[in-house]
Subunit: 437 residues, 2 copies
Amino acid sequence: MGQATIRTTEVKNYVGQEVHLRGWLHTVRRLGGVVFVVLRDGWGTVQAVTESEADLLAVLEGGVSAESVIELRGVVVEMAQAPGGVEIHHPQVEVITPVTEPLPVIINKREVQAGLAAQLDHAVVVNRHPARRAIFRLAAGVMAGFRETLNRKGFTEIQTPKIVASATESGANVFKINYFDQTAFLAQSPQFYKQIMVGVFERVYEVGPVFRAEPHDTIRHVNEYVSLDVEFGFIENHFTVMAMLREVLAGIFVTLQEGYSAELALLGARLPTVPETIPHIHFSDAQELIWQRHGVDVRGEPDLSPQDERWLGEWAQAEYGSDFLFVPGYPMGKRPFYTHPDPERPAYSNSFDLLFRGTELVTGGQRLHRYADYEAALNRAGYRLEPFATYLEAFRYGMPPHGGFAIGSERLLMQLLNLPNVRLSTLFPRDLARVTP
Amino acid sequence: MGQATIRTTEVKNYVGQEVHLRGWLHTVRRLGGVVFVVLRDGWGTVQAVTESEADLLAVLEGGVSAESVIELRGVVVEMAQAPGGVEIHHPQVEVITPVTEPLPVIINKREVQAGLAAQLDHAVVVNRHPARRAIFRLAAGVMAGFRETLNRKGFTEIQTPKIVASATESGANVFKINYFDQTAFLAQSPQFYKQIMVGVFERVYEVGPVFRAEPHDTIRHVNEYVSLDVEFGFIENHFTVMAMLREVLAGIFVTLQEGYSAELALLGARLPTVPETIPHIHFSDAQELIWQRHGVDVRGEPDLSPQDERWLGEWAQAEYGSDFLFVPGYPMGKRPFYTHPDPERPAYSNSFDLLFRGTELVTGGQRLHRYADYEAALNRAGYRLEPFATYLEAFRYGMPPHGGFAIGSERLLMQLLNLPNVRLSTLFPRDLARVTP
């Protein structure tokens, strides 16, 4: 070590030259007198080929199996039928760290060869599988695209506390912490802090963990996830927020398209086109539409069901050719106390959901900004003001009309990649039964 | 609203033109028949001047005080003696959200006019003070510079779980969580996960919260902070890690210099020069040097005291003109179990501290990478293997020599800005007594 080495993704630039690579022994196969070795490094894989077993004694001897850490030297040769169009000839291999036991889950086939539980139990190893790690590389791309877009628009990144004195949005579904001599909680969201910080920076975003003690065991729930949070001031109403969300999603997809095409190709993912203006339909009109088109009377229901969302997704596709549909105007009753009502129809809110391919992806909206409105809303909801004292200080001392949204990173990837379970887009998922690995 | 507005930082580009701004009423002053109004928005401040009180009736009438949210229109005039070289004439002000009560802490003077406790109690408002918020803008710059530097070097950003099944590095100093039917903990660091992820991406970093239940009430401790974590594989030894840390710090300072000069100027901060190679002195040589230069025999002590660090900082400045000094080779006894020993002198470790201006800023080093070494180290430390089972899976199935480091974002800013207390570089600090705001 210490000598210049190249990455697997750089091999194609070294045709005819001797190169030096380091990584993991992904596979060894013998096929009609020829030995194929695939080395995987942190970025990709490359194949080495030889007819001389003597060259590869180090990895062909008993006791050195897949996932051993190796160094590989050889000459780069163009080879149209090889993966990536190049392969390494005259390979010489040295073993840095031998692995001597069979893996708990096979990770060198095209698909991970295990059920979901085994995959999650052995995520430490399974996340090395090229198709698995491509998901988490895309997760990095989502964060990067999110930040780049917002930085361009004058937003400031913040990191707000995760240990909080009281439940953020409701008393339920929070994890309790033994915090020295008192009880504290894990933040369900940075909602209060990002609003407070609009008073400081006008435009803020945060990428960080959020914690939900919801006792739900579904394909769409985990109890800790990465939230991409945005909040900004001086908006007209929730349509200003919707326009910003459109920009952010488009920015994320541009970043993925430009910097993560190998991962998208490996996963067979099709990136959606984000329309210049995402179509929208008011909550009450959406219910009317479902009644008209499908004969199911959901008018007056306080929320949309998953079936309603699928129907609306189909309608957006048919009517506008759009993967996305905004549904603004959810009834106030189902929204948190800080939600701004529609001034014209106060039973409806200036908040929205964004549906992506017929499933809710993002929730956002305009918030209350006047202190007196918070007093009234908290009283109406039956809360005491005192636990909200520091939050309310922001509104007592001058806040502009503002709003924002939160995107769940893992859910975005789940829907983008058509994964059957959000646990598969979560690096080390936490659920009702699981806090390891 | 809805009309085009500009930011305070853009006013200088509109000399002679009418502009429209929105923000907070920072100050109103009358001075010899002239009225000065300072508007603060999310990026800076601008002064408006008039001799006609009638223009400003909206903010001069009783009942509208500082921090009211306002709109301001007027004409931009060059004025050498005005802050920023421009001011607004013929101002017209409208109030969007009036503030009618005096602030709990005065935030429109050069310094925040309050003691530390009051500043922290009212951080929701105090963080609006231009000098306070400049600190947190720099915090965003530190994160940006950290990520940019590592992205260029092929690192992948990760977000690892904060709810963990067992204490990360030791059984002490962790916060317990009631996690459904079991007990879980808040992660003290992403140490185990970032090492595991070297097996996936080779080079990883994370920016996220860490939680320390240390019952210390000092100017340097808070119980939740933002950790900038790096870990990467295929290193030669800890000197490879020290070289990477040097690059990361230099990258952070370049980002601050290029993008955050207004904040640095406002805070009177001097950015350090990072030498091409940061000088280093082995732990045992450092103790010998202190004995030689200061006549205090600290040889054989297991750690450096704050006084030792100050002496070494002075020496690095005198000998090398460097604000930075690496001290590699800390005794194994004071380092965590995963620390790699020095192969030549196994009582010393391949780990280091980085001193900045005579105070420890970063800790890092080479880690063990062979499974058998972990078994031996855990046995030696008196731990059972079972709680570490999933962590150990990484080493059972092939890990390269690797290492990394962690920078505490708040401490970096504290030392960079010469702040008297780390709570002042923490957005909403958590300590023994404080979980609000």
